[in-house]
């Protein structure tokens, strides 16, 4: 519920990481709007199905456009939105279930095309909205409602997947530092090409990993998050691969590659291709 939609009856649980991601995305869109001198309505959020996707109904202040579609299909819709009018700032928000399980087939094509879309993935390692089933990023052996004898699948490693597909901008962060996250999302929006900012956004009800991420001295838990070292060269794919395989959650840009976007290549084709009128098309069939 917010001021603009009193009927809307969805709520995130108290302490949910998604609150922080929403705030960060709002700031990033506001900054983008200022910088590009385009209205907020020039941004479109394409949201997945799951707790995270409800972000699109909960944004405050000046409103972007939104799409809240069907499970797993954010990237196809975002592709259509971007291709229809490349000047539109197109953002995907989705969870680990939506993006990495049912929607995983769409990451490869988007990466290979280098379509200029920014994805903000909220990873809580669980299907929260359906009340706690194992997701691709649930770790091996975890007991959940759908894995009562422990999860039998190995955990998916999103960064290795993204690198293998050729995603041209890969950022990593967590939900507890929205100011820094907003900057990272801003960098991803500025990046020409397909960008993913993968955010650890814990589920306080089914998979509360805040203590693991931040660490807890009293309990003797070392923090998983760490700042990407200054000497990490994000354009070095080998270094990015090493970082993707290493334990812990880096905060910052893991990988970044400059290459033409699909929109660039199409612009070039459009210049070369001769556009015919329907009348000319009909004439090619004249007997």
């Amino acid at each position: 519920m917010s001021d603009r939609n009193p009927e809307y009856d969805f709520k995130w649980c108290p302490g949910c990481g998604d609150f922080g991601v929403r705030r960060a995305l709002e700031w990033a869109m506001e900054a983008y709007s200022e910088k590009t001198e385009m209205p907020m309505s020039n941004s479109v959020i394409v949201a997945g199905i799951g707790c995270s996707g409800n972000l699109v109904h909960l944004t405050e202040g000046e409103q972007p456009f939104g799409v809240h579609g069907i499970h797993g299909r954010t990237l196809p819709v975002a592709f259509g939105v971007k291709q229809a009018r490349p000047e539109i700032n197109t953002i995907v928000v989705a969870g680990d279930g939506d993006f990495l399980s049912i929607g995983a087939e769409h990451i490869g094509p988007a990466a290979q095309r280098n379509v200029d879309v920014t994805c903000v993935i909220m990873d809580n390692g669980v299907y929260g909205l359906t009340k706690g089933q194992a997701s691709p990023t649930t770790i091996f052996g975890t007991t959940t409602s759908s894995t009562p004898f422990g999860k039998l699948e190995a955990v998916m490693k999103p960064f290795e997947q993204y690198l293998a597909h050729g995603v041209s901008f890969i950022g990593s962060h967590y939900s507890s530092r929205p100011r820094d996250l907003a900057k990272l999302i801003g960098e991803a929006m500025d990046h020409k090409g397909f960008s993913i900012v993968h955010v650890q956004s814990p589920c306080t009800t089914y998979n509360d990993t805040f203590a693991l991420l931040k660490g807890n001295k009293k309990l003797g838990i070392a923090p998983q998050v760490y700042a990407v070292p200054e000497d990490h060269d994000p354009t070095d794919k080998r270094a990015a691969e090493d970082m993707a395989r290493a334990p812990g959650v880096p905060l910052g840009v893991i990988y970044k590659e400059e290459r033409p976007t699909l929109e660039d290549l199409q612009e070039d084709v459009r210049k070369r291709a001769r556009s015919r009128t329907p009348a000319e098309m009909v004439d090619t069939y004249t007997i």
Partner: protein
């Protein structure tokens, strides 16, 4: 009195498609009406293929039941098709390949050897066409004019190619004359006094859609819809135009929803398996009220079914393509010419009611080439949805009826939501919202009331009512029945949902509506019965089109079954 119709079938493996296309093009240039038919196995090269050309002095309606001339490129072709020959028919077989046991209908010709002798190994098709000409007094000059036109491409060597092909025609013709066979002479062509084009059903849908304003296409290869994707990749190019081969049908429907939401007139084309994959997306477009067009070029089903054969079995799937309460607008053109207008109408409807529209065609109509009157583009005006230009805070879904649609970048930001939603598209579970949303979405369908239809002999108690690509064959049967004095009416509509009011009124007045359709369940008559009409089907599920002769017989049987007594001799 000569023949008004000539049906030539080419059977074998290689060469049958080129031969049929060349003969059809020549006949059309000479002023005849033509329609081709092709059936392939699902493989890249070879396999048993046959093509057929129906040449007529009047506009063609069907493929032609029986074969006047069979050209057998292979022994299998000879054996599989000789049974379809009319009693006075002639078979020309490739004696370089095989020698069938002698019969009184056939003569051999070494196609490839003759081609080599005239100096162009690729001219064997012309040997064949040359041989067909004298049999029915088809003008050899027309074939020569075709050869000259086709091979004069401004390249060095054109002249030699034209000469060799021309010689090949002469050699074929000479052999046919010597064979002593002949058919009843084909009446001379009466050239239509209007401009014509020769086009396939799929290309006609594509051109029609572009004239209707189409500017965005996403598709995935699937027989028999692939030719639309290929056409779009080649033609929907240039400024503000977009065509792209995406990674699946699931991505295709998602992409056109994204584009339709963002202001484009967006389309995809697929076949039955793709419709299944697009099901959830179509429900989304219906729920969020996004204009998109999905073309279903039907093939045999279910599942992978008969990928290269014709069938009309996706009607249930297209009328109710998604879970939950939906019923899509469905346009099903019944001829190659109608395909053009259907392409344009689909765009117009999607824009007008702001939602998904399904255009159904089928393999037999999609692949065939036919001469049709050149479409009058001035009759097809591209229409666009009304775009919202007011202040922010607009409630797109609040009105009971349709309102202008906001576009990203402009005022009136909202959420296009696949969940039930309030005026701005935010999710809600309130019963009143679901009631109002449901009624609004179904209510908009009444805006789609301008589909073309045909009603004839309205006083008859019984009418025949084809749908989609069976229209032509059924029409030929209907005309034959009327000639025989059978009192039967004709009802046809290109738009199956919503039905034009005049059509539903007319169906309602009938004692019985007979629906010939290429499926097992009699899908259209079942839908009509569900709506309270009296309807029955004549079904066929062979993967092949109807034959006129069978329809004439079965329509009579349906009439007798209805009357409970023998009516016809």
């Amino acid at each position: 009195m000569g023949k008004t119709d000539l049906v030539v079938r080419f059977a074998g493996e290689a060469g049958v498609v080129t031969s049929a296309e060349s003969l059809a093009a020549t006949a059309a240039q000479a002023g005849y009406h033509v329609q081709t038919y092709a059936t392939f196995p699902s493989q890249i090269l070879g396999g048993p293929v046959h093509t057929q050309v129906h040449i007529s002095t009047t506009p063609t309606l069907s493929d032609g039941d029986d074969v006047d001339v069979l050209v057998a490129f292979s022994e299998d072709g000879f054996n599989n098709h000789k049974g379809d020959l009319v009693p006075e028919g002639v078979i020309i077989y490739n004696s370089g390949e095989f020698d069938p046991p002698g019969d009184s209908h056939s003569f051999g010709l070494p196609f490839d050897e003759i081609a080599k002798e005239v100096g162009n190994a690729r001219a064997s098709n012309m040997v064949v066409l040359g041989a067909i000409a004298p049999l029915a007094n088809f003008p050899l000059e027309a074939l020569k004019a075709y050869v000259t036109k086709r091979f004069t491409r401004g390249r060095p060597g054109d002249e030699q190619i034209v000469e060799a092909n021309s010689k090949a025609l002469d050699r074929g013709a000479e052999a046919a004359r010597k064979s002593g066979f002949s058919l009843t002479e084909l009446e001379p062509a009466v050239r239509p006094d209007y401009e014509q084009i020769m086009i396939s059903g799929n290309a006609a849908i594509a051109v029609g859609a572009v004239q209707g304003g189409l500017d965005f296409y996403a598709g995935y290869p699937i027989s028999p819809a692939t030719t639309i994707l290929v056409w779009m990749e080649q033609n929907l190019v240039g400024k503000d135009r977009f065509a792209y081969q995406v990674s699946s049908e699931i991505e295709a429907i998602g992409a056109i929803i994204g584009a339709g939401y963002n202001g484009r007139k967006a389309m995809t084309a697929t076949a039955g398996p793709g419709i299944a994959l697009m099901s959830e997306g179509l429900g989304f477009a219906w729920m969020a009220e996004i204009p998109v067009i999905v073309v279903d070029v039907q093939r045999g089903g279910p599942a992978t079914g008969l990928p290269t054969k014709t069938e009309q079995s996706d009607l249930f799937a297209c009328m109710y393509p998604a879970h939950g309460d939906v019923r899509m607008p469905v346009i099903a053109p019944g001829s190659v010419e109608e395909c053009f207008y259907a392409g344009a109408l689909a765009i117009k409807w999607a824009e007008r009611y702001q939602g998904p529209v399904i255009l159904m065609s089928e393999m037999q109509q999609a692949e065939r080439s036919q001469n049709i009157p050149k479409p009058d583009l001035s009759k097809v005006i591209a229409t666009s949805r009304e775009v919202y230009t007011g202040d922010n805070g607009y409630q797109r879904y609040e009105a009971d009826e349709l309102g202008p649609m906001p576009l990203p970048g402009g005022p009136g930001a909202y959420v296009a939501n696949a969940s039930e939603h309030d005026g701005m598209g935010d999710s809600t579970h309130l019963p009143i919202r679901h009631i109002r949303g449901m009624e609004r979405r179904f209510g908009k369908l009444k805006l789609l009331n301008d589909g073309p239809y045909e009603i004839e002999n309205p006083n008859a108690a019984i009418a025949v009512m084809p749908w989609g690509g069976s229209k032509g064959t059924v029409r030929e049967a209907y005309l034959q029945l009327r000639d025989e004095g059978v009192d039967i009416g004709w009802i046809y509509t290109m738009t199956l949902h919503p039905l034009p009011e005049a059509v539903s009124d007319e169906i309602g007045r009938k004692e019985l509506v007979i629906v010939p359709e290429l499926n097992y369940q009699g899908q259209w008559s079942r839908l009509l019965r569900a709506d309270g009409f009296r309807a029955t089907s004549i079904t066929q599920y062979t993967g092949l089109p109807f034959k006129v002769r069978d329809l004439v017989k079965e329509i009579k049987q349906s009439i007798e079954a209805h009357k409970g007594s023998k009516v016809f001799a």
